[in-house]
Symmetry: C2
Subunit: 231 residues, 2 copies
Amino acid sequence: MSRIVLYDLVGADDRRFSSHCWRIRPALAHKGLSFETVPTPFTSIPRIGDGSFPTLPVIRDGETWVCDSWAIAEYLETTYPDRPSLFGGAAGHALTAFVSQWWRTRLHLFVMPMILRDIHDHLVPEDKDWFAETRAKRFGNSIVALEKGREERRVELRERLGPLRQMLADQPFLGGAAPLYADYLVMGTFIWARKMSPFALVTPDDPIHAWMNRCLDLHDGAARSGPGFDW
Amino acid sequence: MSRIVLYDLVGADDRRFSSHCWRIRPALAHKGLSFETVPTPFTSIPRIGDGSFPTLPVIRDGETWVCDSWAIAEYLETTYPDRPSLFGGAAGHALTAFVSQWWRTRLHLFVMPMILRDIHDHLVPEDKDWFAETRAKRFGNSIVALEKGREERRVELRERLGPLRQMLADQPFLGGAAPLYADYLVMGTFIWARKMSPFALVTPDDPIHAWMNRCLDLHDGAARSGPGFDW
């Protein structure tokens, strides 16, 4: 079996910060698949493969290229069915799709404006202008302005995380006794933020903080390695 | 095998309106288990069995009594493992726990104050005063006052339903191609509201309305039968 190649978003000081790449790294480890990473700045994505990939992560597995974290997770599940499952069967797959939409609409898009400027500050130099311009366009304001008032928005964030917090009273992971792709999917946001921003999304008194630490410990603490912020 | 008895909350005109009982009725049908219901007003719950049950649903299966919808669903899954699964395995069970917390914290508790007065108006006479008093105490205001402004809150409800709506773009049920307990769990709120309130929680242009109708069609349209509101 060939070694899988993961094109992995990179910031300054080799910060591997992509929330979506940080779903695939633990997914590969979960499956027991060896892989190497190719650090890739935003502005180098068009040079991957045939130049058709719009976003990271992208993987190359032998002659097969796959782009998009959800598509990659499904590819790994169907291509390596005898390895530990990422979804836990058809029902787990379907319900993970709900978790994914909750994550996107309620969590990630809400957090993003709060830390865009921090992300910008820790990018490689050639990505900075491109990032500030594209994000300002997408969110309709400058990344400096978007950050303002984030302390107040963190109060709402705590409320938005309610379903996850309540669930953690009964089980240690979204996957139950052990993590599944649903955990990696949500956790990506926390790793991304910890790599790039000193603005703590959760406080140590929050059960979600303990879940975050359980996830950070997985696979020999891979998500703790390298520069970042320890909140 | 003895016929299972479901103690089922009842309002005026034999309205079977409990959101939580409406999780267990389709769960029993899903398992292919025959059952009979005992219509039970709120104020008659203390007379069930040994008088120890605080809420409905309660089931009696032979000599076994089980109270609480989640406990009943787990009981049915473990007691009848050869029947169609309600959870779809351990991962499905764990992820359904997340859906359950999302339903509770984001959906049901938000909708409840909007329709408490409508529920009151369709209760059996002996439940009305008890209901108005206990709900006013729980929510800190009269059921008439709690209803005020519900049209505005429905705008927020639409936003809160975002994760479900987005997921339905990719699959017809929370369970995937076919419904699972996660669907029954969320659907209970919609059946409950349709039985007791003319205030439509969703509009026909919403993909959630189509999902609701798919759920209403299940098991020979059981949830459509009897008096109620057709929105």
